[in-house]
């Protein structure tokens, strides 16, 4: 199916899932030393055909470096990169079947929107007519036909972003790479554009790797998320699992909010120990009346977050943060706080969740 057919088809393109499908991207043993420091450390990553995967991690963990090696702008010191089972690590960026959307969009300011989007096709020596058709189709897809003849500097940031996306899509890449595609947009637009990107990605069934440091963004658009830390992938799972079953202490603290307490949990109480327990604020329940396994607690601070409140609770064994919706308690209120769920980490790795040993 060509891009134009895909754009016009209404049903989402069939997508093979999990191990059975062919591999869109397969990275093995990727290694890179820059300025005497190991930036990427023996990294493995497999993206299934048609899957959208986010590379999520704190600043400086090597996300951009990884993406640039996959795109072909940076040569890895070691490792293999395969796109649809074809080794590409020896190829230059211009010969790879991937297309990239740059963080600053990197539109050519001296070309109009059509020229920008048509340039990759012009390089492929396609006929004028065909270029025109394909450019129009992809501009219609990103809803930009009315800006065909504008210069990039004359359109808004969100529109520039869509031009950059169109320029990547028009190449019908086997692999779409995006480096923090939403970081230059304001909060409202970011939500809209990420939904647009996801929708287009689903419609075209295109294998996609997105770099981001925004966990909400990664959670909302990805099939799977690879959490990266210090040049390594810490965990690679579905968004929900990442939150409920973080494999390492790093992932648990990086994703969402966490009460991190040194010790272990015995009958709902924290006792000193070598382990680390992590409790999600929503798993801490504050009530005015005593209940089973709740312990007396005093409200120390209440921080409003719009639709919910963050409550700092002091118990005799630990200080806990809890989330509360509805009418919040006031500082100084006395009540009872219960821990309903907890993660236990030993040497940084998850050993139990809830009260169930792994």
């Amino acid at each position: 199916m060509t891009l134009i057919e895909k754009i016009h088809s209404t049903t989402p393109t069939h997508r093979e899932t999990d191990a059975g499908g062919s591999r869109g991207l397969r990275v093995r043993g990727l290694h890179k030393v820059l300025g005497g420091r190991t930036i990427i450390d023996n990294l493995d990553l497999t993206v299934q055909d048609g899957e959208l995967v986010s590379l999520l991690g704190p600043s400086g963990c090597g996300k951009t470096t990884t993406l640039r090696m996959i795109a072909g702008f940076l040569a890895p010191d070691a490792g293999s990169i395969q796109v649809h089972d074809r080794e590409v690590s020896a190829l230059g960026a211009e010969k790879r079947p991937s297309a990239m959307v740059f963080q600053n969009y990197a539109l050519w300011p001296h070309m109009t929107v059509v020229k920008n989007v048509g340039f990759p096709l012009k390089l492929r020596r396609l006929g004028k007519k065909e270029i025109e058709q394909r450019v129009d189709a992809v501009l219609a897809l990103v809803n930009l036909l009315h800006h065909k003849h504008s210069r990039p500097a004359r359109i808004s940031g969100g529109e520039q972003q869509r031009v950059a996306l169109a320029r990547a899509l028009v190449q019908e890449p086997e692999l779409l790479l995006l480096d923090e595609p939403l970081s230059n947009l304001d909060a409202k637009l970011r939500v809209k554009v990420r939904e647009d990107i996801r929708e287009i990605q689903q419609r075209l069934g295109i294998t996609t790797l997105i770099v981001t440091h925004d966990q909400e963004e990664a959670m909302s658009m990805s099939d799977r998320i690879a959490v990266m830390n210090a040049g390594k992938i810490e965990q690679f799972s579905r968004p929900a699992e990442l939150y409920s079953r973080p494999e390492t202490e790093f992932v648990a603290t990086f994703i969402g909010s966490l009460n991190r307490i040194e010790g272990s949990l015995v009958n709902g109480a924290v006792v000193p120990g070598d382990d680390v327990i992590g409790i999600r604020p929503e798993d801490v329940v504050f009530t005015l009346h005593a209940s089973f396994d709740a312990r007396p607690a005093v409200v120390e601070r209440v921080v409003p977050h719009g639709h919910f409140h963050e409550i700092y609770l002091k118990r005799d064994d630990a200080t806990l943060r809890a989330f509360a919706s509805g009418l919040p308690p006031a500082p100084g209120d006395r009540g009872h706080a219960a821990i309903q769920n907890a993660l236990t980490f030993r040497q940084g790795r998850l050993v139990t969740t809830g009260g169930v040993a792994l």
């Binding site: 702008f73 211009e94 600053n104 050519w108 390089l123």
Partner: protein
């Protein structure tokens, strides 16, 4: 951009530049820049104009006919134009690749070379030319087009290297990478992205080189005279033999190509891609 927004922007700029101090500044600018030009213009048509008088004693076209009637002048104009064009071409061929290398690659001696280029201009020109002349005697280059061309090109190397180097360096790498990602070879990236984006800077350098060559007198006289005479060197002869109104006429003639070139380049440099290009990272 539509005319309306352009005008709005202009008036906004005018508003922000008000105040008595900037007014005074503006008047001084006009006096210092336009004053000498006006004086030159009047002088070129003046019968005579001596000190206590506020204006010339009478008007005449005599000085123009003297200059335009001089048969060597035609040759000088031709020489000057051809030489300036050739200088820009040769200088561009030599300096633009160097400028690109300075902008894009880190290599041994890079800094030394860049500073050395400036040092070349820091020397008193005449001393440099005398040294060159003695070398050219040995090489039989005195009085040859080649010799004069070398002197002219030397005088433009700084412009043709520094300005384009800055222009190349200002082209964001991600724009080049995006082109490679789209499937362009390195050469194609240069032709389609790097060069067009650096073009305003290159044009500025070309115009400045053209004018520098057009204006060059000392070295040309030393190396080229009397066989190769350009407008500036011809001016020495004219000025020595005629009243100084002739110099005014000649100055105006000398200025025509410069002004024409600046006007032609103005549209490209100010209104063109340059202004737009730099709004994008």
């Amino acid at each position: 951009m539509t005319m309306i927004t352009k005008r709005a922007r202009k008036s906004a700029a005018r508003l922000s530049f008000s105040g008595p101090l900037s007014g005074l500044f503006f008047v001084l600018m006009v006096v210092f820049i336009l004053g000498p030009l006006a004086w030159l213009g009047i002088r070129a048509f003046a019968e005579s104009w001596t000190f206590p008088n506020l204006g010339p004693d009478g008007w005449t076209l005599r000085w123009w006919s003297v200059v335009l009637g001089d048969e060597t002048l035609g040759r000088a104009v031709q020489n000057s134009l051809a030489l300036a064009a050739l200088t820009v071409l040769v200088s561009a061929c030599i300096c633009l690749p160097a400028a690109y290398a300075f902008a894009r690659y880190e290599f041994w001696g890079r800094r030394t070379f860049l500073i050395g280029l400036f040092a070349l201009n820091a020397f008193p020109k005449m001393g440099l030319y005398v040294t060159i002349a003695s070398l050219f005697y040995a090489l039989n280059l005195m009085g040859t087009v080649m010799g004069v061309l070398i002197v002219h090109v030397l005088g433009t190397v700084v412009f043709m290297t520094w300005i384009p180097a800055a222009a190349f360096a200002a082209v964001p790498r991600s724009l080049e990478e995006a082109a490679r990602d789209a499937g362009a070879t390195k050469l194609r990236v240069f032709i389609s992205v790097t060069f067009p984006l650096a073009l305003p800077g290159i044009l500025v350098a070309a115009v400045m080189s053209f004018l520098a060559s057009f204006d060059e007198a000392q070295g040309t006289y030393l190396i080229g005279a009397p066989d190769i005479m350009t407008m500036p060197t011809q001016m020495y002869t004219l000025v020595l033999n005629y009243p100084n109104q002739v110099a005014a006429v000649f100055s105006i003639l000398l200025a025509i190509p410069s002004v024409a070139l600046l006007l032609a380049a103005h549209k490209h440099i100010v209104g063109g891609t340059l202004a737009e290009g730099f709004q994008i990272k």
